[in-house]
């Protein structure tokens, strides 16, 4: 649905987006992840025809963003960062204005607006003046606006920024639901968000793509070690030595807390050593109080990737 080919955008001497290529397939929710200033907004602005690329091409639903801009704009619903709205209008009025602007036929307009209000759960504020709305409602009015002409593609720039935890959950839920019908490209710098919502992630840093995969794959690829965390009652010294001798274990860290000890066992990437650990501990008269695989979060991946980059460039 979206195809980006060697796209670059230069501001004066600085490349905001530097030769990136990616594709968003139909029905997919793709997350664009990166620190502030990584080039996420610039990429989205190019795709929504708000600004042109310095070089490279991008097509949205088969239309070129530069040459066929009006057709591209008909296919997309765009939620800009911080959701700029006209403060003096009422919610329904605003949606009606946007629907007209997006050429929703007169007969369907009322129905479409009602649908969007329903979907985005803004019924209770539909007659309120936009300027008096809370951030969460503004965000949802913005989302309703992106949906009003029933676009194939949604481009959402930091849709959950500045919301409180409950609102974030609501908006995420909403995006997930929308993902069933629309192709979505969303940007964020909040990591758990992509894990929850997105089928695929692109990590971008300083205008370049540094990684592109599913959140789960990224996690396994980048997992430096395979860590298991243990809490065991028993003779600490013995258990530590026994754990170290398990096939594949590279390192054991032991925190002695008297009767009970905490261990972190590192093993080689591909091996699952949990069952071996279990039997080893039993053999050494230990009682396992807790055992879990240390989760590697996107947070760590993100940190690793962006840090590696910096080391390379430094």
């Amino acid at each position: 649905m979206i195809k980006v080919d060697h796209l670059s955008k230069r501001y004066a001497e600085v490349y905001a987006v530097d030769n990136i290529s990616f594709e968003v397939n139909q029905g997919e929710i793709l997350g664009l992840l990166g620190p502030n200033g990584a080039g996420k907004t610039t990429t989205m602005r190019i795709l929504t025809c708000y600004m042109p690329a310095t070089s490279g091409t991008a097509t949205v639903a088969g239309y070129d963003v530069f040459r066929d801009s009006i057709n591209v704009r008909k296919q997309i619903g765009y939620l800009p960062e911080n959701v700029p709205l006209y403060p003096e209008m009422r919610v329904k009025e605003y949606l009606s204005f946007r629907a007209k602007l997006k050429k929703v036929p007169y007969r369907e307009r009322k129905l479409k607006i009602a649908e969007c209000i329903e979907k985005c759960r803004i019924k209770e504020v539909q007659n309120q003046i936009v300027g008096t709305l809370s951030k969460g409602y503004r965000q949802r009015v913005g989302l309703a606006d992106t949906l009003v002409h029933d676009p194939k593609i949604l481009i959402l720039d930091e849709p959950t920024i500045g919301l409180d935890p409950n609102q974030i959950r609501q908006v995420r839920q909403l995006i997930k639901e929308l993902g069933e019908k629309h192709t979505i490209l969303l940007s964020t710098h909040i990591l758990p968000e992509v894990e929850i919502i997105c089928g695929r992630v692109i990590i971008i840093n300083k205008g370049k793509i540094v990684a592109m995969d599913t959140p789960a794959n990224l996690a396994t690829q980048l997992r430096g070690g395979n860590n298991v965390i243990l809490e065991v009652r028993g003779n600490g010294e013995n258990i530590k030595n026994a754990l170290s001798s398990i096939n594949g274990v590279t390192k054991v860290v032991w925190h002695d807390r008297g009767e009970i000890g905490n261990y972190t066992v590192e093993a080689e990437k591909s091996m699952d050593i949990r069952e071996d650990i279990f039997s080893t501990v039993i053999k050494n008269n230990g009682i396992i109080r807790e055992m879990k695989q240390a989760p590697i979060t996107l947070e760590e991946i993100f940190h690793q990737i962006t840090m590696q980059e910096q080391e390379v460039t430094a």
């Binding site: 025809c49 708000y50 997309i76 765009y78 700029p84 009025e93 204005f97 602007l101």
Partner: protein
């Protein structure tokens, strides 16, 4: 073209939902009323000609107040982004905004029609000259609005847009006035560029094609330039 009317409607609503429209209309009525009564007292003539000559200065100050928000506000609050990423052409946006401001300008000058009733009651005015004056007034409004629109399109700051607009309009007015009586191509050129001479013909009751062409072509040129400015964001 439906987008033009959509944008026109929104802009008109924005004017009347904010105090802008009311303040501008009220200020205009106060000053034009003042000049009307003063000039009527001095000249004892049943004509709008002299009071409208002064009205030009008020219009040069008030028109940029009408137009200053058109693009500057959208640039500042970022609403320009959803607007320009909707399937509308740059021309439709610019023209819709232009028409809305021009309409408000026209609404602003309508209450002066009361003076005509007053003149008819006290004497025997020349209606032809009055009609011509109003045609001139509206045409001049188009030019003033397009200049204000141009200034608003290049800035994020409404106040800057307003002040520069006022200065630009006053210069345009003054160069015509200041060069009156001067001879040679330089003064003739200034008089042609300035609005004063063109406007003066209308108030005398003459609708000269040259003056109509001046206003219409100047306005069209400026709208074209504004469209290019709005579009230029797509080249950078």
């Amino acid at each position: 073209m439906t987008s033009v009317s959509t944008i026109f409607q929104r802009e008109i609503n924005a004017y009347f939902l904010s105090p802008v429209a009311y303040v501008v209309i009220a200020v205009f009525m106060v000053f034009s009323g003042y000049f009307f009564s003063i000039m009527l007292g001095i000249t004892q003539e049943t004509t709008l000609r002299y009071s409208l000559a002064y009205t030009q200065f008020i219009l040069s100050i008030l028109t940029p107040v009408i137009t200053m928000r058109l693009f500057a506000e959208e640039n500042k609050t970022g609403t320009i982004e959803p607007l320009m990423t909707a399937p509308v052409t740059d021309f439709e946006v610019v023209f819709g905004k232009f028409l809305a401001a021009w309409a408000l300008y026209s609404v602003m000058v309508v209450p002066t029609a009361f003076y005509i009733i007053f003149l008819a009651w006290t004497g025997n005015p020349d209606y032809g000259a009055i009609v011509a004056s109003y045609i001139g007034l509206i045409l001049m409004g188009g030019l003033f609005v397009s200049i204000g629109l141009l200034v608003s399109a290049v800035t994020k700051n409404q106040i800057v847009a307003g002040v520069i607009g006022i200065v630009a309009l006053l210069i345009l007015l003054v160069i015509g006035l200041a060069s009156s009586g001067g001879e040679g191509w330089f003064y003739n050129g200034l008089r042609y560029i300035g609005t004063y001479d063109h406007w003066d013909t209308f108030t005398k009751g003459i609708v000269d094609t040259r003056d109509v062409v001046y206003y219409v072509s100047f306005t069209a040129l400026l709208i074209f330039v504004v469209v290019r400015i709005v579009e230029s964001r797509r080249w950078r």
